[in-house]
Structure formats: structure tokens, C-alpha cells
Amino acid sequence: MGYDNDTDEALVRRAGRGDRSAATALVERHTDKIYACCFRILGGKPAAEDAAQETFLRLWKHAGNWRPKGAKFETWLYRIAMNICFDYLRKTKREAPAEAAPEMIDSADQPDQALFLGQRRFAIDEALGKLPERQRFAITLCHFQEMTNIEAAEVMEISVDALESLLARGRRGLRAQLAPMRDNLMGKMSNETNAHIN
């Protein structure tokens, strides 16, 4: 049974009544985004997977009683994910993103490029990881999850002005951290682009 045309809200209500295929449709629709968000915040694959799983576990728990209350389902789901990530960060130290770097090295015929991609991602993940939690979350929502400022502010339950301030400070922090390697990273990116063009 296809659920492509159903709204998230309708699917949650069905999942709350025990419709497993509606629950599956929600997982198919949102897991990638929630996982990516958790990965940005927590910096490691196992932690991000645990957080994504926990997010859906809470969704199943509350699906029977879920009411929109003015917020979109996705906003609510991101809010759950955010709280889980913050709890996780409070309990544990942020995992070193070093484990993520080798995953990029999967191109045997272009070892240099693969190594470069791994290093670049490592550098960016590390820079993100050093930002204060809320700045990291603001950048994750607006830049990586491509939310509007209003949506991101809703998820974080802050004003748009406060969100803008977090974004600006976060980006400034990233620039400062990445500045020493920027030319190198950007230079290689330019080479890549040229290679694509040629």
C-alpha cells in the first residue's frame, strides 16, 4: 500500500492505531534526515544510529496520543532528536570523529582523492564538534538539513533573532578553526572542480 500522498500527521495517527505499514512509511521518509542530523551533532556513526533509533522509539511510544498542537510533525520529531542528542552529550563525551574518516576511503582506484576526502570530512567534523552544542545544532538544521530560519527556530524553541546569532557565531567559529587548512582544502576542491569540468 503506497503512502506517498499521505501527510506525516495522517501516518502518525495510523501508526498510533497499530498500522505497521504507516510506521514503516514514516521510517522510510524520515530516517535519513534524522540520522544525518544526529550524526552532525554527535559526530560518530554508532552514537548517531542509537540516537536515531531512540528518536523513533519515542515516536512509537507517543504516536497514539500525538496531537499537532500547532507544530509540524517534522518539527516535533527533530525536537525529540535534539533532546536525545543533548542528553547523550551530557552523559558522554563527544565521540572523536576519527572513526568516520576511513568510511570515505573506499575508492581503491583513486587513493589520493579518497584520502583527501576523508581528511576533509574529518577536519570539518572535528571543527563542528568543537562548536558549542547549540551553535552546532543551529548550523546542522539550517545548513545541512536545509530548514528555514523559522523552522529551525521552532525546533530549537528560540526566537529567529537568537537563531541568527547562533548561526553567525557558529560559522565564525568554523571559519576560525578551518582557516589554517582552508587554502589547502579549497585548493584541492578547486582542482576537483576543474577535473570534473575537464
Binding site: A15, T24, R40, E49, A52, L57, S165, R171, L178
Partner: protein, 160 residues
């Protein structure tokens, strides 16, 4: 084409957008995009724009690993039908749903129809008051039946 000079306010506003949202103006809030879209391309802001572009490029190059099918399977496997908890508002809403009133409405409708039918049948039968009984006796003896009495025919007979 010569560019118009940018006011300090405009400069600050556009710089704030670059700092917060990056160089890609499609990521800017709609009102800022409409208001400062053209200003963002001005030469005066070239340095700010290039800095923002560089950071956007780096961030865009860092993609998270894809979600494993195993994770999705685990999430689906942990799905259980949630326990239904009924709040007072749910209870009231459920109590007053239209479908609950269908049997009761049908029952009441049948009762009302019966009542109306009863009233009509009572009105249709003659009440046997003494006067009615007397007329009935007279007409029965005269051979004239009230059921077969035709007023039009009676009028025609008078004219003849």
C-alpha cells in the same frame, strides 16, 4: 553598469545575512532575499561573500555516511502498537461522534414515525359523539350514503 553606493544599514544587514546563512541567497529568509538580493552581489561586499562561499563549500563537501538498511530494519522491528490512553477530551469527542448517534437516531426516527401514524389514524376515524350517531342513523334509514354523495351531481340536479 555603475553600481549604486550601499548605505551603512544595507551593508550591515547584508553582512549579517552572509554571516548567518552563507553566500547562497536561496538559503536566506525570504524577506532578506527580496530586500537585499541585488545588494549581495555588490563589489563592496565581495570579501564577505567570498569568505561565506568558502565556508559553504567546505560544509557542502562533508556528507554524512548513508543510513544502513540494518538501522531502518531495527527501527521498524521495535515498532509496537502504542497503548491507547484516553483523555477526558478524547472520551467526550468519542462520545459525541456522529456514528454513535446513528442507531439512536434511527430508533428515535422509527418511534416518531409510529407516533405520527398513530395520530393520523385516530384523526381519520369518526369520533362517535351523540350528534354523529344521530346523523348516521338518519342517513342509514334514508338510503343515502355519505360515502357516495356527490355535491356536483346534486347541484346539477337542482338546476334541472
Amino acid at each position: 553598469m555603475k553600481q549604486m553606493p550601499i548605505s551603512t544599514d544595507q551593508f550591515d544587514a547584508v553582512k549579517r545575512c552572509f554571516d548567518a546563512y552563507g553566500a547562497d541567497i536561496t538559503r536566506w529568509p525570504t524577506d532578506a532575499r527580496e530586500q537585499y538580493g541585488s545588494t549581495a552581489r555588490s563589489d563592496e561586499l565581495a570579501d564577505t561573500r567570498h569568505d561565506a562561499e568558502a565556508l559553504d563549500g567546505l560544509l557542502g563537501a562533508a556528507t554524512p555516511p548513508p543510513v544502513s538498511a540494518e538501522l531502518k530494519n531495527r527501527i521498524i522491528a521495535q515498532y509496537r502498537r502504542p497503548p491507547a490512553v484516553m483523555t477526558i477530551s478524547d472520551l467526550l469527542a468519542d462520545l459525541f461522534t456522529p456514528r454513535r448517534f446513528v442507531p439512536a437516531g434511527a430508533f428515535a426516527g422509527i418511534g416518531a414515525l409510529g407516533l405520527v401514524a398513530g395520530v393520523f389514524s385516530v384523526n381519520a376515524s369518526f369520533a362517535m359523539t351523540p350528534e354523529v350517531e344521530a346523523y348516521a342513523y338518519v342517513y342509514a334509514d334514508s338510503g343515502i350514503s355519505l360515502d357516495t354523495f356527490d355535491e356536483e351531481e346534486a347541484v346539477q340536479w337542482d338546476e334541472d
